[in-house]
Structure formats: C-alpha cells, structure tokens
Symmetry: C2
DNA sequence: CTTGACCTTAGAGTTAACTCTAAGCTTATA
DNA sequence: TATAAGCTTAGAGTTAACTCTAAGGTCAAG
C-alpha cells in the first residue's frame, strides 16, 4: 500500500496531479486511512501507470477515461472501440502535423529570404512579406 | 474610413477579435466619432492585415507585437531582430512537429498491432501495450 | 418616430491540463 | 513531546487567444 507521495514517485506524476486525476475520475485509492489518507494497492498502481502511459502518448484525459472503462470490462467492449479512439487521435495528430508543416515551410521561406544581418530593417524582406500578405497559411491546401 | 464591422469583413477577423487586439495593443482605430465609434483609416487597415497575416503563419500575439514595433520604426531595428523572432518560432514549430511525429508513430504502431474488429477486447493488443508501458513517448530520443 | 442593425464598455466564460494556496490535521522521528 | 514532513480539502490561478454577455447608446431607413 502506497501513500500518495510514494505513488507520485513511482509514476513520475505529482501528488497534485494524482488528486487532480482522481477528481476527474481517472485514478483513485481503493483505501483511505481513518484520517483520510489515500492508500493505493497494486491494482491502483497499475491503473495509474496505464494513465501515465496513455497520457505520454498524447491521449486526452477524456480519451483515457474511455480507455480505462474498456480496460475495466474488456468482455463487453470490442477492439474496434479501442481502434476508433486511437484512429481518431491519430487523425488529430496528423492534422496538427500538417498545420505545423505549413508553418514550418513558410517560416523557412521567410528566413532564407532575409539577410538576417545587422543592417536596419528598412528593406527587410520578412517584414515586407508580412505586409504583402499572400503567404501560405493554415487553411490553404 | 471603415467602421469596425467593415474592417472585420475586410480582414476576416471578427469585431470582437479586433477589439481584443486593440486591448492588447496590436491594432487601433486612429479616429473615433463623437459617440465613440471606431474609424479605421488606410494605415490602420494595413496594420490589421499585417497582424492577420502574421497570426495565420502562427506567430503569437506577443511575437506580432514585436514585429509591429519593428515595422513602425524600421530604421532603428535590424534584420537580425526579425530573423531572431522568426527563427525562434521555427524552432518551436520544429519541436512540436518532432513531438507529434513521435505520437504519430506510436499510434500507428498501436493501430497495426490491433485487429480492430468486433471481437471483445479481452486480448486487445492496444490495451495490453498501454498496460505494459514501454511505449515511445515525448522525451524519448 | 419607431424599428432594427450596429456600436460602446467592462467583465465573465471557454478549453485543457494542470499548478498552487491556505488552513488545518496526522504521523514519524529525535 | 516537539518539530518537521506529509496529508487533507476547497477553491483560485495559469496560459493563449479568443468568445460572449449585459446594459445601454447611435444611426439610417421607412
């Protein structure tokens, strides 16, 4: 049985975060001491580690909630439910990557267009490009 | 001279957003009517469009503030200041892309490991992988 | 002169995932 | 037994960039 700070140490989450997750229904201590101290058993620890792993991959706390309830009752959930969550997340990630790559290209292009030197910015091609507009941006295909 | 909703239409920003930007020092109307209505002249419009372009590229409002003050007094700023801001943003974007690509790979790997079918999740390899931990995640190199 | 569209402000709400604080118990150690 | 470390709770604060609301003033058209 671990106290909250011990679980924090094991998982690399803070005690604050563990309480926060509890408030959001992700993790709880199966036992409490008379004084109200949380005590985590092995199953609790595994659950906390599951949460941490999922979080590190990038799942939202909401996603994690769903994954946890599947994990709790695997028999009445399908693999498809799990892949749906995962695929949805992957789509989101792919979308963000595409957006960022757009920004990356534009920034790269701006940087190569400008001397970057100590001369004053009167004819800075980055400033000029921003004044012109017409730069590729989020939403362009 | 444009009223706020007209400028909103021209720029594709909302009137709310324009007032928000004003509160944050990015855009203002050079004139006000007696009743307090904002009136934007050509220079204001160009400034608003500059802001919108920079925002669409992904610069933070803070970055945009800096770019605007360089733009306002180009003679006393260098190209290097501009490239510093741009490079800094590019580094940030590159970092985020790397993080997301990590997530992308992990999610991809999970998806190919799981059947995704209607069978129950008792042996779902995604759930199992999350239980094992040991998945590549943010911070791994 | 009335109606409806538009303008003003200050300030609160949104989102996600924490992060921290205050005030007060509890527990382990010396 | 004193002290320090650790635990509890409710609730506020953080960040970025909006987004919306309420309460009220203005203006153009019919």
């Amino acid at each position: 049985m671990l106290k909250i700070s011990e679980l924090a140490e094991q998982t690399g989450l803070t005690a604050h975060t563990l309480r926060f997750y509890e408030k959001h229904g992700l993790i709880r201590a199966s036992e409490r001491s008379e004084a109200g101290y949380r005590y985590y058993n092995d199953a609790d620890v595994r659950r906390a580690e599951f949460v941490k792993t999922a979080r590190n991959i990038g799942f939202s706390l909401d996603d994690i909630g769903q994954l946890l309830s599947i994990r709790l009752d695997k028999d009445s959930h399908s693999c498809q439910e799990v892949t749906d969550i995962t695929q949805h997340k992957l789509n989101e990630v792919n979308g963000k990557i595409a957006e960022l790559q757009m920004m990356q290209q534009t920034l790269q292009r701006l940087l190569t267009s400008c001397c970057g030197g100590p001369e004053n910015a009167t004819h800075c091609s980055i400033i000029e490009a921003l004044e012109e507009g017409e730069l590729p941006a989020k939403g362009d295909s």
